[in-house]
């Protein structure tokens, strides 16, 4: 591990970089309207972001090689998805997901 000063400096930099990504659009867009094309582009952000956050976690990436599948996550996604269709309740979906992975790990996956 590097010294405390280096760690603190890193944290300061990472915190600022993240914070700026979070707030700059709120500051810049407070007083003017985005063009129609941009709004249309942004309308895809929710489903695209949620899909890639989930799907990218099902693999381990090695640039230049085929991604390696994370079998427990991929398998646990199936009952989780089924519980989404059946319950339509986020709480139940999350509980089924966690329980599924726990059972998979118990059975050695």
């Amino acid at each position: 591990m590097p010294s405390s000063n280096v760690i603190l400096l890193t944290m300061l930099g990472c915190g600022l970089a993240t914070w700026l990504s979070r707030i700059i659009p709120f500051v810049l867009l407070k007083h003017f309207q985005l063009p129609k094309q941009v709004v249309e582009f942004l309308s895809f952000v929710p489903i695209v972001i949620m899909t890639t956050l989930w799907f990218s976690s099902l693999f381990t990436a090695h640039m230049g090689h085929l991604p390696k599948i994370n079998l427990p996550y991929a398998l646990a996604s199936v009952p989780t998805f089924l519980s989404a269709i059946l319950s339509k309740s986020l709480l139940i979906i999350v509980l089924v997901g966690v329980l599924s992975l726990m059972l998979l790990r118990i059975f050695g996956f």
Binding site: R22, F26, F44, V48
Partner: protein, 235 residues
């Protein structure tokens, strides 16, 4: 979820998502501690950076003695998707003061964004400062406290993974994605499904040809652009 935008509704709506923060927060506390960081540093990192996956990357890059500049750049790239999310979200808070906008922005996460997008389907496309701010603070406090618990218990519960808690976040994204497609009337189901399939393919290809820190942001940008193209070509 209903059309209420009060703080009470926020508490109820946020409850299912806190498992994600608890699972990942505990895991981060444990990993930060076992990587040799002091408890206060691990907790400070969660409180100040507040960025889930990027914090794990930061810890592993610190242990590998990477230069500060490349750690900060990687964090920026991993988190630059926040720009897309806060741009989308800012449209709903134009009437609120700058101070309120800054508060909403400062505590924005993938989860609170996804939750807000779902909420819109029940509220005739409205959000309130009271609702999102309450939800954000519950999430933030849960995250910091879970990190603290993980850092303190680090040596005892060596693996929160055994309890499947690391899947809470993914389960939440699966749930929110499904509920989003189900409830969103502004875009046809066929187009949404097509966008999802294209995004899965893009994610897979990006993982082969791009460094890990760029996968999500590049997929997000290209995925949205492809969505617009397909919409104009076929819908």
């Amino acid at each position: 979820m209903n059309d209420q935008l009060t703080w009470q509704a926020a508490v109820k709506d946020t409850l299912p998502t806190i498992f994600g923060y608890i699972g990942i927060g505990l895991a981060f506390g444990v990993i930060g501690r076992t990587s040799g960081l002091a408890v206060w540093i691990v907790v400070l990192m969660s409180a100040f950076v507040y960025a889930g996956s990027a914090q794990f990357t930061t810890v592993s890059m610190l242990t590998a003695l990477n230069p500060v500049s490349s750690i900060v750049l990687t964090t920026f790239l991993v988190n630059s998707r926040m720009i897309l999310m806060s741009t989308t979200l800012s449209a709903f808070f134009k009437k609120d003061s700058m101070a309120k906008n800054l508060q909403i922005g400062s505590l924005l996460t993938d989860e609170s964004f996804a939750l807000s997008m779902n909420k819109l389907n029940y509220t005739q496309n409205r959000l309130s400062f009271e609702w999102l701010n309450t939800s954000n603070w519950i999430a933030y406090l849960t995250w910091v406290l879970s990190t603290l618990a993980g850092a303190l218990l680090g040596n005892i519960i060596s693996s929160p993974r055994r309890f499947g808690l690391d899947f809470a976040l993914l389960a939440m994204f699966i749930g929110l994605l499904y509920l989003q497609v189900l409830a969103d009337k502004s875009m046809s189901k066929k187009l949404q499904l097509l966008a999802i399939l294209m995004t899965m393919l893009l994610t897979y290809v990006s993982m082969i040809i791009l460094p890990a820190s760029l996968v999500i942001v590049v997929t997000a940008l290209v995925g949205c652009a492809l969505g617009v193209l397909v919409k104009h070509a076929f819908f």
